[in-house]
Symmetry: C2
Subunit: 245 residues, 2 copies
């Protein structure tokens, strides 16, 4: 499960200890550097640090005081919240170019954990906030990102509150396919998360997720070449299922 998100070579980052990078970052147009002038990107580069993490490692926990913001260079990450008895809700799966760690004064609202080996850009919150004055574009960019995340959260609320199991799984696959489109070469969609993660993302059990996946496969809508990969065979039908039509 180490090479599920292939487009970025972890070695690339390991070789340049700090400060470098970002110049040849393929993600320029994805990450929140998007649309910044070269000199402003340099200002960002000046304050960020690079972090490498193995899979299944906590990046920060819900309630921790929020010292950093993160952008994913390679690998994937999950965000989740827990109830006291262990029930878990995964609030998002993140991929290269995605941003996370924005918080209220009461600390991070969720736990962040690597799914695969990840390479992260880490921005000290204080320093980033100080940069707002020099690069006001930055704040605009963060607002846009946050609004876009809020919109996604609303979609997920509709999914969790009102969709059937089959519609939930279909929505998950459609969303995953879309969000990882530019990161793939082949037709197979990587599933870096476990069935348990998918279940906790959709408000279902692993058994139900497994049963629905099997049905979709039997109906010829998807293929499951191996655990860890998925093939969208009938995108239209899947999209129609996802919208509950």
């Amino acid at each position: 499960m180490g090479s599920l998100m292939p487009p970025f070579d972890p070695l690339q980052d390991k070789e340049k200890p700090e400060g470098l990078g970002c110049a040849h970052c393929d993600l320029a147009e994805l990450a929140f550097c998007a649309g910044l002038k070269h000199e402003d990107v340099s200002r960002l580069t000046a304050i960020l640090g690079h972090v490498q993490l193995p899979p299944h490692t906590s990046i920060f926990r819900e309630g921790d005081s929020a010292q950093h913001l993160y952008s994913i260079a390679s690998g994937s990450v999950k965000l989740y919240k827990l109830l006291s008895d262990g029930r878990r809700q995964i609030t998002g799966f993140l991929f290269p170019g995605n941003f996370f760690g924005l918080s209220t004064p009461s600390g991070y609202a969720y736990t962040a954990e690597s799914l695969t080996p990840v390479s992260l850009c880490r921005f000290p919150r204080r320093k980033l906030e100080a940069l707002y004055q020099t690069v006001p574009q930055l704040e605009k960019r963060l607002l846009d990102i946050t609004i876009s995340e809020l919109t996604g959260a609303h979609d997920q609320m509709l999914l969790l509150g009102r969709k059937t199991a089959k519609e939930k799984v279909a929505s998950f696959i459609v969303g995953l396919e879309r969000r990882t489109r530019r990161l793939r070469q082949g037709p197979a969609v990587a599933l870096p998360m476990s069935r348990s993660d998918i279940a906790d993302y959709l408000g279902l059990t692993i058994e139900t997720v497994s049963r629905v996946m099997t049905n979709l496969k039997k109906e010829g809508i998807i293929g499951l070449p191996d655990a860890g990969h998925l093939l969208v065979k009938d995108h239209d039908t899947l999209a129609r299922l996802a919208e509950g039509a």
Copy 2:
């Protein structure tokens, strides 16, 4: 159902057609004017318009091109999304001081509708964005508001995906009580929304909401003096239920 949110007098706004107000707006510390200098508040006042609406009136619809942002002066509002077959998810109930209408380039992500008679401050998006340059505080404020809404959305995802019917209703009551605390005089919490609205907010049916309410009442945790009002009798037990403990 016309006077359920009593602390603000609709007449007050009717008498001053445009432009005035805001100076004696009790909500200064709630709304996004919070912490602005007097002259900056004036700049805001200069671009905003006042809107009065009767209950059960659409303010804007999902997908509409987003021309305005809104702040509630008095009354309450619901936000919701629909599936093609009519299934509905209410994503939020809003009260005086709350802000809504932030959107991505693809338009509003949800429909907004008045629950009671409402008095709104309406900000033209273009003009507000132009003000960012003069009043950078504004953008910071909007970012804070959006992050805070995103945090709330994550809480709601946990509720929708992982809480039982009883825990959902308890969470709803606790949240409503907290969010309307400074707007009440008496001990009774106003319920400006219908059972159907509550059901669509919690991902339940009206029957289940009604049954759970009846149970909570029989257990002496809440009181239901009349439809439209609710009394929290055992706040600790309710809060414990809400957290699933």
